[in-house]
């Protein structure tokens, strides 16, 4: 692919990359920087073989830039504190509100229809997903994005964020519970 073609194709990916970076960094300026670096690396690099989609390839570059940014942040305690205390997001007792005292659902998960996958083709649904992701506590959103979009292994995430596996499972559980509930309330319950 010629350089001119690639720069034309990269621009539309910019907003997607920004969205992903913002959710993980919760820092507008830093997210802009990281995306800029990703696009520059993509332009100067020769790694794109056309075997994966352009977006998947860019996500792979972005992953490294975000991990670098997080490492750098952790070395600057004043900046790191803006992220909030990760321990505060690990408290499992929070989920008691979703269950009764015997551990039964309260309320039960709702029915999402026969083919919830149809929603994935709708622009409005993706907007609702974005809103739900933004509503997650900062560290929870970051960990969930690292796992599900960046596809980092759990031990890599634990190492980068210096948390143990148990805490990671709790955070991911929290993210899934909150997202499930948010999608149900803001999409599936309204589109029966």
């Amino acid at each position: 692919m010629a350089a001119a073609d690639i720069s034309r194709d990269l621009e539309p990916q910019r907003s997607y990359l920004l969205r992903v970076a913002r959710l993980q960094l919760r820092d507008e300026a830093l997210a802009e920087d990281v995306v800029q670096e990703t696009l520059l690396a993509a332009l100067s690099g020769t790694g794109f073989s056309g075997k994966s989609s352009l977006r998947t390839w860019l996500t792979g570059i972005l992953k490294h830039k975000i991990v670098d940014a997080i490492r750098k942040k952790q070395r600057e305690p004043t900046v790191a504190s803006s992220f909030g205390d990760i321990d505060a997001e690990i408290d499992i007792e929070d989920f008691d509100a979703l269950f009764n005292e015997r551990g039964g659902w309260e309320p039960k998960p709702g029915e999402w229809g026969n083919s919830p996958e149809d929603a994935l083709n709708q622009r409005q649904f993706l907007d609702v997903m974005d809103l739900c992701l933004e509503k997650l506590p900062p560290n929870t959103a970051r960990v969930f994005m690292m796992r599900e979009v960046m596809e980092l292994e759990t031990d890599e995430i634990c190492k980068e964020l210096t948390i143990n596996a148990n805490n990671l499972w709790v955070i991911l559980y929290r993210a899934r519970m909150a997202l499930r509930l948010c999608l149900e309330q803001n999409w599936f319950a309204r589109n029966d």
Binding site: V20, T59, W105, E148, T154, R176
Partner: protein, 79 residues
């Protein structure tokens, strides 16, 4: 959760059996295992307990499908 008691013996036996399986682990524990499984294999005991629970619990089966949907949705996010 309120359940109406059916006096007919066969129905009651089914209900009791279902209740026993459903209470090996609670829905709360089952939901944690469903999420935990996304990160790697469960122990043999966890797999068994979850399987038995899911076989009788409609709410948790629903939850399991919704978590699978979430994964698909997040993969779609990057395509």
């Amino acid at each position: 959760m309120t359940e109406t008691r059916d006096p007919a013996p066969p129905a009651r036996r089914r209900m009791t059996w279902k209740r026993v399986l459903g209470h090996i682990i609670s829905c709360k524990d089952a939901s944690r295992l469903v999420s935990r499984r996304e990160e790697g294999p469960l122990s043999a005991w966890q797999r068994l307990a979850l399987r038995l629970h899911l076989s009788v619990c409609e709410a948790c089966s629903r939850f399991e499908r919704q978590i699978a949907f979430l994964r698909t949705a997040m993969q779609r996010y990057r395509q």
